[in-house]
């Protein structure tokens, strides 16, 4: 059964492959066209970011909301069900030798937290310059909070990233992106038109107008979404128990 299906898939794949350009000589019109004009039009040297946040900005809004919906869906699926309560896990084998978090793990995690935050912000704010941007920076920023979880207890982690605040930041990130685009409409320009000054030096942090701003909001959104997902999963493992408190 599977192999019959696989044979069909292989046939279709070969058929599709014959229509593709050979590896290493991509002829398509869009890529070369964007490469010709992007740096001059947007003053961004990171053309991938220019594509994501400018030429295909509208698609990225949609993609952003897929992320938003997936995070919200995770939170809804992992809610407390009927017949479940929140309580800390009870150690059922008290006499076993459970090692506490070692000082080495704790020290290394805390040492890394600061640099990770800096790297995350740096990535989120340099989309216009080099291979970085809001998506990458956001994930790195979320990692900082996970390091805090590794270094300490879950309760410290949840105190530092309360769900209300994470929710608000996530909404601000997603809404901010949409709002940057909407602001253009009020001045009679097309949605997501790059209306901010582009700057003079290609690749400078202050250049490229809305690309940098949108990347910042995407960074917020991604960091908050991943933090929300991780804390929902941790809560599910560590706090929610069948049969009440």
């Amino acid at each position: 059964m599977f192999f019959a299906g696989a044979a069909g898939l292989v046939a279709f794949y070969l058929w599709g492959l014959l229509g593709l350009p050979g590896f290493g000589n991509y002829p398509g019109p869009y890529g070369p066209a964007i490469l010709r004009v992007a740096v001059a039009q947007t003053q961004a040297t990171g053309v991938v970011s220019a594509v994501n946040f400018e030429y295909r900005g509208f698609d990225t809004v949609g993609e952003e909301f897929i992320l938003f919906t997936a995070a919200a869906g995770t939170a809804i699926v992992l809610r407390m069900l009927r017949g479940e309560g929140e309580r800390s896990p009870v150690d059922e084998a008290r006499d076993r030798d459970a090692p506490p978090t070692s000082n080495a793990v704790r020290t290394i995690a805390l040492l890394f937290t600061g640099p990770v935050v800096v790297v995350g912000w740096w990535l989120a704010s340099h989309a216009q310059t080099n291979p970085s941007g809001g998506f990458q920076g956001g994930v790195v920023l979320a990692t900082a909070f996970i390091l805090i979880y590794l270094a300490g207890a879950f309760l410290t982690f949840s105190k530092l990233s309360p769900t209300d605040v994470t929710d608000a930041v996530e909404a601000a990130g997603a809404g901010g992106f949409a709002a940057v685009g909407l602001a253009a409409l009020f001045t009679g320009l097309p949605y997501l038109y790059n209306y901010l000054p582009l700057g003079q030096i290609p690749g400078a942090v202050s250049s490229s107008g809305t690309i940098a701003l949108i990347s910042f909001f995407v960074g917020l959104e991604v960091a908050a979404a991943f933090l929300l997902i991780v804390s929902e999963l941790l809560e599910q493992t560590l706090l929610i128990r069948h049969g009440g408190r």
Binding site: Y26, G31, L67, T74, L233
Partner: protein
Amino acid sequence: MQVFPFIVVAWIIGVGLYGIATSRNLIHQIVCLIVVQSSTYVLLLGVGYVTGAVAPYFYDVPVHTPAVDPVVQALALTDVVVEAAVTALLLAIAIQAHKRFGTLDPHELAEFKG
């Protein structure tokens, strides 16, 4: 025509699909789905590759250096992020399925009615 990258793509899809079809564990199936999806990264980047070209970043190379296609790279970037978020959602659903029915075997789960 250099076809090696496209053979790699077909291999990754095949391995992942075989895993999904034969797996008896939801978590394992989700991991196989990630494998299937990672073939799209190879395909996208393979399609946009230009021999001898640089990455589409012109911070320290002249602006008109030949570069690989930035559009497929942007697609791959969003692909990665969406995949991570959707995987989290699928894992959450698997957790709840296990809680409700006490099994992660798709064959046994099919017998239950939600």
